[in-house]
């Protein structure tokens, strides 16, 4: 049975009356790899700083092992942090950086040496003991930061986008490495990222945040397969989100047509958001299609083609291994388990249409980043209304 280690209770945080965290409730289990995932500025770092003790919440409690620790200063908490920009001590070499916490605890020299070297081994930095941090690459600095925190054998390690500065390849390696280290030392990791793929790969539990509140908590599979609202569906992976009506259990209506699905538990004829993942859509000849649309864009992505298809003005993204030329009329077929039905939410109608994608996919660089930014702006506008 997993044991609860940290609990955030009705946590609120405001900077100069500007609310940043809105009534956060979350519990974190011992030895769990938990990820806070959300767009920039949603309050991930703030949450982490509250757990670390660097920020005092405006209201609400932080419990550690059942004890309220709101007023415990950082240096007395059994928690260590890997900071967003590493924050290595520039005047100390790698060995002394890692030994910092042990020296404070007056650990005997021989034991310090042993534990530091052991930890440098874990992060594959043997032989770098005498280097100063500014003579290390970003990835190496990051590993020193991890070693510096882990050597103290904390109960909880907080990591604030530790891989943000690394290139894709190194990032992937470090993701595996971190997961391995977490399992090896067997402690709780609370990990912050805005990269959904990273979150899906590494976490036991993902907490999706937006605008200072939690949108969904669940395993990576839950979050991906059963997103709670349009924000989560859009933020995690690619999603076509279409207005629909739940006619009755296991039957959803879109485009005036009824489709069999597996979901239930909605009121009769309740308006819903229908999520269809791009990879769950099969392209079939027009006459066999449940829906018929026109291809308006095709992008080769290596593993698959990203095809944008116009269904009566609403553009879908379909991922398939078969090429279809622009302008082609195609039919699509979706199996009942390809539908995921969500209740309407404040995010309904803001996401899940790929019109902008089709216009911009030619500009190869940062298409997704652009999309995300736009989505973010849309969201902000939506909020003000």
């Amino acid at each position: 049975m997993a044991k609860e280690l940290i609990r955030l209770q009705d946590l609120c945080m405001a900077f100069d009356d500007e609310p940043v965290l809105d009534n956060l409730n979350l519990y974190i289990n011992d030895k769990e790899f938990l990820t806070l995932l959300g767009p920039s500025g949603c309050g991930k770092t703030t949450t982490l700083r509250i757990i670390g003790g660097f920020t005092t919440p405006t209201s609400g409690d932080v419990l550690f092992d059942g004890v309220r620790i709101n007023d415990v200063p950082p240096y007395k908490r059994q928690i260590n942090t890997v900071f967003q920009k590493y924050a290595l001590f520039p005047h100390l070499n790698v060995f002394e950086n890692v030994a910092f916490g042990l020296r404070l605890k007056k650990v005997p020299d021989a034991e310090i040496k042993e534990r530091v070297m052991e930890m440098l081994e874990v992060v594959s930095l043997k032989g770098f003991e005498n280097r100063k941090p500014d003579a290390l690459s970003g990835g190496q600095q990051q590993r020193v930061a991890i070693a510096r925190a882990l050597v103290n054998r904390p109960k909880v390690l907080l990591l604030d986008e530790p891989l943000g500065a690394l290139d894709l390849k190194l990032r992937k390696d470090m993701q595996m490495e971190l997961k391995r280290i977490q399992q090896q030392v067997g402690i709780t990791f609370i990990y912050v990222t805005h990269d959904q793929e990273e979150a899906l790969t590494m976490s036991d539990t993902i907490v999706v945040m937006d605008k200072g509140s939690i949108q969904q908590i669940g395993t990576p599979e839950d979050i991906y397969n059963e997103p709670k609202n349009a924000f989560v569906a859009d933020f995690i992976g690619e999603s076509n989100i279409i207005d629909g009506i739940m006619v009755r259990d296991k039957v959803v209506k879109m485009y005036g047509r009824e489709f069999p699905c597996l979901d239930g538990g909605f009121a009769e004829n309740e308006p819903v958001d229908v999520v269809i993942r791009p990879e769950d859509i099969d392209i079939v000849p027009v006459e066999q299609g449940q829906l018929v649309g026109t291809v308006t864009g095709v992008t080769f992505k290596g593993m698959q083609y990203d095809i944008i298809v116009d269904f009566r003005g609403f553009k879908w993204l379909i991922q398939t291994t078969d090429h279809s030329p622009v302008g082609a009329r195609i039919g699509v077929k979706i199996d009942p388990d390809g539908f995921h039905i969500m209740k309407k939410s404040q995010y309904s109608g803001m996401f899940g249409d790929y019109s902008s994608y089709s216009e911009e996919y030619d500009e190869l660089s940062d298409v997704e980043a652009l999309d995300e930014e736009e989505a973010q702006e849309d969201r902000e506008e939506g909020y003000e209304e």
């Binding site: 660097f54 200063p73 001590f89 520039p90 005047h91 910092f100």
Partner: protein
Amino acid sequence: MRSKGIAIPYVVWMAIFVVVPLILVVVYAFTNRSGGFTLENFASMSQYASVFGRSFLLAFVATVVCILLGYPMAYFLARERGRLRQMATMLIMLPMWMNFLLRTYSWVFLLERNGFFNTLLETIGLPKLDIIDTQGAVVLGMVYNFLPFMVLPIFSVIEKMDHRLIEAAQDLGANSAEVFRRVIFPLSLPGVLSGVTMVFIPSVSTFVISRLLGGGKSLLLGDLIEMQFLGSAYNPHLGSAISLVMMVIVLVSMGIMNRFGEGEGEAVVL
């Protein structure tokens, strides 16, 4: 190419106002009144050993006092925010806007036998103190005049220090005293080094302060040199030789200090 062109005026400036006087000093130091080469200027300097000793000692004491006073001042200023900090910075800078001679004279007025302090002591029924014309008064004058040069570089180093390093230290278990000892202080050493340079050098070569506050009793190198050029003992050759030796001693000691602090980064001279 272009950047070299731009540098030319500065190079010319440096040549005229730095290098030429330096060459003149060297030439004078190694010649006698008739213009022939000689080492006699250096040989005759041994009689002034006590002046050298006193100058370096007083400058050293003044520098140490400046560190002891200036470091906490800079530290708390750098961590302070808002109006208090602005005001305190103003107060530190204010004397620097006044004429050097003037502000040293003001201390004469304060410390004199019948000056402000002694009048004050008298009115509350305490015996008068002999402060003026002592080496203590000279040190006081040095500290007063050069303290801002200690405070400012330390202040700017601490002020620019990455706050996350402090948080990282706290995170690893350091309380505020340990944060200071293990992170803030070592990282502020370059500022201290600059401050030391900027206090020690003018202190060692000053002549106004010792003249006004030391009452001519504690002759310093600055006075000695000044006497050789403008005063009674007119001998620019000897004056140049003394200057040269002083310069070499200062350079060597600064070099040693910088080497000593190398691990903590180079001193930044403002």
